[in-house]
């Protein structure tokens, strides 16, 4: 125990590691904020960059970038309605309306504060309960992942904000788009028409940048002489009463985040979407309706994706299984530095676990401080006249898309999605569900098929599975409740309306 404390304190006392952590977070915020640049990309670049460094230093800068990048995604989502990272999609739904009202500072300030809180929830959970959660996460079968994805899909109804039929249609078109390419589990080519570029599939980041970024820019050109909103920057940091008000929601969403993050194969993006949905269902009377600038709509996804950071380290450090894309790369970094990440890691190198816990703690503090400091300069971006900012946003979308895979084809897709998104908006088809469909489609499809194959392709056996496994039963009931809660009978029973 004393040893563990000692390991925990090392990064606090080593100003070199400290500097790398703070620098990493600052860089990460920018990486996260720029669409197309992702934490995954930054951390894999860092592998070569830190090849000859000492392991602790390399890990410090990677942890810092990871934490910063998850946070940075929210900034562009709030200011420009272009999520800098997939985990911030839900954040923009209420964040951008707030920015349009001149409340970007308040939104980012609250986001920063609850982010710090959630990130700490994740770290503490990692420190005290990692082995238990990791073993529980392993119990999730393909059928349960299918149910989780289905839960996410139900969100389509709640993020549309218009005609539900149009929302569903947009979401399902997204699912169909996600089928394009080579099916990873059977190698079958779907909707590729013999084209090699289509075989690679359509990256959801490409679609996201187009559907949010370029279509937003085009929509703004309809009214390009309109003034940009003046931002109120008098009160950035939320006061204690505000914080206390959102505390229960923040705690719930962080818990969702930690757990979804700990599940191998799902990360902050899915966590944020599920948390947003959860908030929308449980909070009946927000001050402002969801979708028009509800602060709850920022708190829920932003706490979930920060909680998912600590969560993703849980299976990585206890079992050597990555919790998300970034931890997968960090496992590679550990191998390259001569360690054996896996079940033996905590036994062979116990100090590593506590050092990472401590590095994540410091990163969270750095995030809080640096985040609050950057609210003012960032908020100024949105005050720049549209005629200047919009051409820059378009070029940023182009270069960001290109950078994902160094592919000009992706840029064409992105512009195509931009035009499509613009037309969809004008006819009342929401673009959010389409991105959701593209993200969740593969999760839904491949886990359904895996579960079906596990049931030897027999419908009866497949359906029986939903009621025989406790986790599946719980998720099935939860989905049934989510559907029931939409009906009039339920609203009558609860005395709503």
């Amino acid at each position: 125990m004393m040893n563990n404390l000692q390991y925990f304190l090392i990064p606090f006392l080593d100003w070199h590691i400290m500097g790398l952590l703070w620098g990493g977070v600052l860089a990460g915020i920018w990486v996260g904020a720029i669409p197309g640049l992702s934490g995954t990309m930054a951390v894999s670049l860092l592998i070569s960059f830190t090849f000859s460094w000492e392991l602790n230093n390399a890990l410090a800068v990677m942890c810092g970038v990871f934490v910063g990048a998850v946070y940075g995604g929210a900034i562009t989502a709030i200011l420009l309605n272009i999520p800098g990272a997939p985990a911030a999609i839900a954040t923009g739904m209420d964040g951008y309306p707030l920015a349009k009202k001149g409340l970007a500072g308040k939104a980012i300030g609250l986001c920063t504060t609850v982010s710090f809180f959630a990130s700490m929830v994740g770290v503490v959970t990692l420190a005290v309960a990692a082995p238990i959660i990791a073993n529980f996460a392993l119990k999730f079968s393909p059928r349960d992942f299918f149910l989780l994805a289905a839960m996410g899909i139900l969100l389509i109804g709640s993020i549309g904000g218009g005609d539900p039929v149009k929302g569903i249609m947009a979401g399902v078109v997204g699912i169909l788009i996600s089928m394009v390419g080579m099916d990873p589990s059977t190698g079958e080519l779907r909707y590729t028409f013999g084209n090699l570029n289509l075989m690679a599939g359509i990256s959801f980041v490409t679609a996201m940048i187009g559907l949010f970024g370029v279509s937003e820019a085009l929509t703004q050109f309809r009214d390009s002489r309109a003034k940009s909103p003046k931002q109120d920057l008098t009160k950035i940091m939320p006061d204690w009463t505000t914080f206390k008000k959102y505390l229960p929601l923040a705690l719930r969403s962080s818990a969702i985040g930690v757990f979804i993050g700990a599940l191998p194969g799902t990360g902050g993006d899915v966590a944020a979407l599920l948390a947003y949905d959860q908030a929308k269902r449980t909070i009946r009377h927000p001050e402002t309706p969801f979708g028009q600038g509800a602060l709850e709509g920022i708190v829920a996804p932003e706490t979930a994706n920060k909680g998912a950071i600590g969560g993703a380290f849980i299976p990585m450090l206890t079992l050597g299984i990555p919790g998300d894309a970034i931890t997968a790369i960090m496992i590679g970094a550990l191998f390259i530095h001569g360690l054996r990440p896996g079940p033996m890691l905590m036994i062979e190198t116990p100090h590593l676990f506590w050092m990472i816990v401590s590095m994540l703690t410091i990163s969270s503090v750095a995030l809080f401080v640096l985040g609050l400091l950057s609210v003012r300069p960032f908020s100024k971006i949105i005050e720049i006249p549209k005629s200047i900012i919009m051409p820059v946003v378009i070029i940023l979308s182009v270069i960001g898309t290109y950078a994902i895979q160094n592919s000009v084809t992706d840029v064409f897709y992105m512009i195509g999605f931009g035009a499509l998104g613009y037309f969809m908006r004008l006819y009342g088809y929401p673009t959010g569900p389409m991105v959701l469909g593209i993200i969740l489609g593969p999760l839904l499809d491949s886990n359904y098929r895996r579960a079906m194959q596990g049931a030897e392709n027999e419908i009866a056996q497949f359906i029986a599975g939903f009621f025989t496994s406790p986790i599946s039963l719980f998720l099935t009931l939860a989905i049934a409740f989510m559907l029931f809660s939409q009906t009039k009978t339920y609203r009558k029973l609860r005395g709503i309306d």
Binding site: F51, G187, A200, G332, F335, P343, E456
Partner: protein, 330 residues
């Protein structure tokens, strides 16, 4: 007129200068055909920094994924054969022709070095009723349903599983995963009964005793998991025509790349390969160091191609017969 002649002269001089300049004179693009965090990515990123040091120019690594690596391969095949675009590739292109994914494969490339081999290993959960490889095969023969993890046609698990099914005349219930990692995760949770995967993906869990290795699909035992027997120990003789077989990770350049550049690259990567740090990395990952260059590398690739292509064809996973491409039967 004078100006035109002048600039033409200048151009010729510059071009000649470029041809005579020492390779490499600018950073090299390294295309990794699988995603960040995967086995190939780890091997490539472990080898590249030291090679870049030896070359004196940086190697810019980028993952270009999709179509089991065909996107990256095609990118390099379409780039100039000047040694400034190099491919970090795995065994998958050996099946592009029979699966109809692409008309390009390693025939259009020269191997610089094969860094590491990845042999197959059959693993089961720790509390599995199957204690030996013979147990597993016997259970399959008795007609019991065994849920066996797999990946898409062409992946190591798919080919290895078909090899086992063919040799022993058994049939598993295949559950397809997106990759080896997710299959092992499902195995740990007890959602499948067994899976044949590459040792690189499994060795850390076998060493950590969270899953059990029943047999390595290799003629000899592997150093990093010494206590796992080979398939030959359980079934002597039956695997002979297929072994040695395994996936590989290597560095490739487009055919026609000047030999000067090829030799420089070979030298640099051999230096990186012989670095003690790479050996330690290979051992921790559970990979078998190969270090093959030139004709040896080509021979290794062809052997893998022959076994995999025909197994895939016999299992019904190939669109075109390997005969069409004059791939000999193993």
């Amino acid at each position: 007129m004078k100006r035109v002649v002048g600039s033409a002269l200048l151009f010729v001089l510059l071009a000649a200068g470029a041809a005579f300049a020492e390779y490499p004179e600018k950073p090299i693009q390294g295309y990794v055909m699988w995603g960040a965090g995967g086995a190939l990515d780890n091997v490539s990123r472990a080898a590249a920094p030291n090679a870049a040091d030896a070359l004196g120019k940086s190697i810019i690594m980028q993952n270009k994924t999709g179509a089991t690596g065909a996107i990256a391969l095609t990118t390099v095949a379409n780039a100039a054969a000047d040694g400034y675009s190099i491919l970090f590739g795995a065994e998958n292109p050996n099946l592009y022709k029979v699966t109809g994914i692409s008309e390009f494969d390693y025939d259009q490339f020269d191997p610089i070095i094969l860094l590491m081999a990845n042999v197959g290993v059959v693993v089961v959960p720790k509390d599995s009723p199957y204690k030996t490889y013979a147990d597993l095969i016997a259970a399959a023969k008795s007609g019991k349903t065994i849920n066996m993890g797999s990946t898409g046609p062409g992946g190591l698990p798919y080919v290895a599983t078909n090899m086992i099914q063919k040799i022993h005349g058994v049939k598993f219930n295949l559950v397809a995963f997106d990759g080896e990692g997710p299959a092992i995760t499902a195995l740990m949770g007890g959602h499948i009964d067994a899976v044949a995967v590459g040792l690189l993906a499994a060795s850390t869990y076998i060493v950590g005793d969270t899953i059990s290795g029943l047999a390595v699909i290799s003629p000899e035992r592997i150093e990093s998991v010494k206590n796992v027997p080979t398939v030959l120990e359980a079934f002597p003789g039956e695997y002979d025509s297929y072994l040695p077989w395994g996936a590989f990770f290597g560095v490739f350049v487009k055919k026609g790349t000047p030999s000067e550049a090829q030799n420089k690259l070979k030298e640099a990567f051999l230096k990186s390969y012989n670095d003690p740090r790479f050996a330690e990395f290979a051992d921790k990952m559970g990979g078998v160091k190969l270090g093959l260059t030139g004709d040896d590398a080509r021979k290794y690739i062809e052997q893998n191609k022959s076994v995999s292509a025909w197994l895939l064809y016999d299992a019904g996973g190939a669109k075109v017969s390997p005969e069409e491409f004059k791939i000999p039967r193993p």
